[in-house]
């Protein structure tokens, strides 16, 4: 039997999300490549074809008429040819490796469907000639990385908040709760907050990104900024690119100033959390009060805040291949604590108490200061029960790259090589479905033709 992984042949771990794509070698602490999931496309006038630009230097650089799109929705791949460009760039330009030498372990969200999984495996085998692949479930990876075989994984991602019960290493796909309240909606909300004038700030803040600014003058704090825009770029920049770059400004603001109040939100209580200073690319400097900084994240916990933003959410997606489990539409979305309580409610009583004791928080939302404390507070209030316990990685990079790190550890284990699905196995079983029926739940692929019933 062929041996892959282990110490001599390095496996590649591929973790694709809606916000960013992480690629690196198994056994390392951090992914080598962490790049935006979005790609830019420019119409080539001579050939009439679209040229794609990916990676940080592809997306974040100004190009005339470059349109930005995201091939990922809700953690799943929707535009396959763009994803191939992303993979090309990651493997050829960044890792600079020959994929024929490296088995690839990829992650998938628990609600991924069979079609998507098969298609990615097919691309890896047929286009990249990988010797072997394996697929692991995000939620199971997060739960394992926290040292838990049984855990309730609460993932606050870019598009989606989801609650996935993992029991004895299997994600219970039927009882996943998810809804489109994620970091992207938080960015929209913060965008509205910043561009809405307040009594202290009569002018709306201009969210021009630094690529569009020709010059600016140093000004005092809260003074009207004096800057000039690059009119040549402004005239030719695509609106999607400008929107995306403005969102980057808001994301950066959230990183510096954002957060969650640990208790029920009142402006007075929030103001006690202190002020923070931020300078925008236009040179505008402002000090933000606690109530301004912490208000946007209320969409996760507060029904009335949720009601206010229902209109700003993305439209529902028409799915050709339905994902696993039910997606709660934005119109019916509930605060996160209700989602968690409901996910617990539908479990068998014998696992419910161990899930309550072992809650794992992951995804971009877990990086917001105060998020975990607030969720615990709201849960305890909602259910009148104090028996909840969170297990959260201590270091920030472990939270950011949780699923990738989990995959990295699995892929580096010498004993893991027996589990890879090799090229030969894949070829032999390509006609019959080689991937395990998703309905069985669980985190692995794979109908190995030889030892799994089909």
């Amino acid at each position: 039997m062929a041996v892959y992984g282990g110490d001599e042949v390095n496996a590649i771990v591929l973790d694709m999300g809606t916000y960013s794509t992480r690629v690196g070698y198994a056994g390392e602490d951090m992914p080598k490549v962490n790049m935006p999931a979005t790609y830019g496309s420019v119409l080539d006038q001579d050939s009439g074809n679209f040229k794609h630009y990916v990676g940080d230097e592809g997306v974040n650089v100004y190009r005339p008429k470059m349109r930005l799109s995201n091939p990922m929705r809700e953690g799943m791949i929707y535009e396959w040819n763009a994803v191939e460009d992303v993979l090309d760039y990651a493997f050829n330009d960044r890792l600079r490796c020959d994929t024929a030498d490296h088995p690839i372990l990829f992650t998938e969200p628990p609600w991924n469907n069979k079609h998507n999984r098969e298609k990615l495996a097919q691309i890896l085998f047929e286009k990249y000639n990988v010797p072997a692949t394996f697929v692991v479930n995000n939620a199971v990876c997060a739960s394992f990385a926290a040292g838990k075989g049984t855990a309730l994984v609460i993932d606050v991602g870019q598009d989606i908040s989801s609650v996935t019960p993992v029991v004895d290493g299997y994600a219970l796909t039927k009882s996943i709760q998810r809804q489109p309240i994620g970091m992207s909606l938080l960015t929209n909300t913060a965008y509205m907050t910043l561009t809405t004038p307040t009594p202290e700030r009569p002018d709306a803040i201009e969210l021009h990104s630094h690529q569009l600014i020709a010059s600016k003058k140093p000004m005092g704090y809260n003074a009207k900024p004096v800057y000039t825009l690059r009119q040549d770029r402004l005239a030719n920049a695509d609106q999607s690119w400008r929107n995306q770059m403005a969102r980057r400004v808001v994301e950066d603001w959230l990183e510096v100033c954002g957060g969650v109040l640990e208790t029920t939100f009142t402006p007075e209580e929030a103001d006690k959390k202190g002020t923070k200073f931020y300078e925008f690319p236009t040179g505008y400097q402002a000090i933000f009060k606690g109530s301004e900084r912490l208000q946007p994240a209320e969409i996760f916990f507060n029904t009335s805040a949720l009601n206010r933003i229902r209109a700003y959410g993305p439209p529902p997606i028409a799915e050709n291949y339905p994902s696993q489990g039910r997606m709660i539409p934005l119109q019916e979305a509930v605060p996160l604590q209700h989602l968690v309580a409901h996910a617990l409610e539908v479990q068998d009583i014998d696992v419910r108490s161990s899930l309550m004791q072992n809650m794992v928080l992951t995804g971009g939302g877990s990086l917001l200061p105060g998020f975990q404390e607030r969720l615990l507070f709201e849960l305890q209030n909602l259910t009148r029960n104090k028996n909840y316990k969170f297990h959260i990685p201590t270091t920030k990079h472990e939270r950011r790259f949780g699923p990738w790190i989990g995959g990295s550890i699995l892929g580096s284990l010498g004993t893991f090589h027996q589990l890879w699905v090799s090229r030969e196995e894949w070829r032999n079983s390509a006609l019959i479905s080689w991937l395990r029926d998703v309905n069985e739940g669980g985190w692995g692929i794979c109908c190995r033709v030889c030892n799994v019933m089909l």
Binding site: A145, G147, K148, Q357, N358, R384, L410, L413, T415, Q418
Partner: protein, 163 residues
Amino acid sequence: MLHTQSSGIGVSDECVAKFEELRLGKVLKYIILEVAPNLQEIIVGKTSQDADYDKFLEDLPENECKWAIYDFAFEVDGGGKRNKIVLISWVPDDAKVKQKMIYASSKEALKRKLQSGAIAAEVQGTDYSEVAYEIGMFWTSIASSLHALTTEIIAVLSKVAKA
């Protein structure tokens, strides 16, 4: 047959032998199991006959993962002694991610290899309060009378429904 969802780490025969000894011999009090340093299989780290629970806790290091199989003895209401075997996954918060990952993903293999029907309850411990003697006793008592737990949780649920 479901495909094994695990790290692929095996379980040494010694583990099974010691487990049987604990289960049937009634002499051993607890067994500490660990993953061998070469990450190939699960081996027996220590066996003990010491009934002092604090001594047992000393065998759970502060920043390293272990499994422990502990034989809890207790008396039932009508008199008479009972024994329940509890599998404790010791995964302290301060352990390295790699170790946590390996231990979490290998537990299923361990359970499958041991006669898991004999394990009355499982405890996932991340700090010493979670593996206190009372907790172990709590789980064993649950195993013997699931009824109490059922009523408790139904009470919690009805509160949730009201709220």
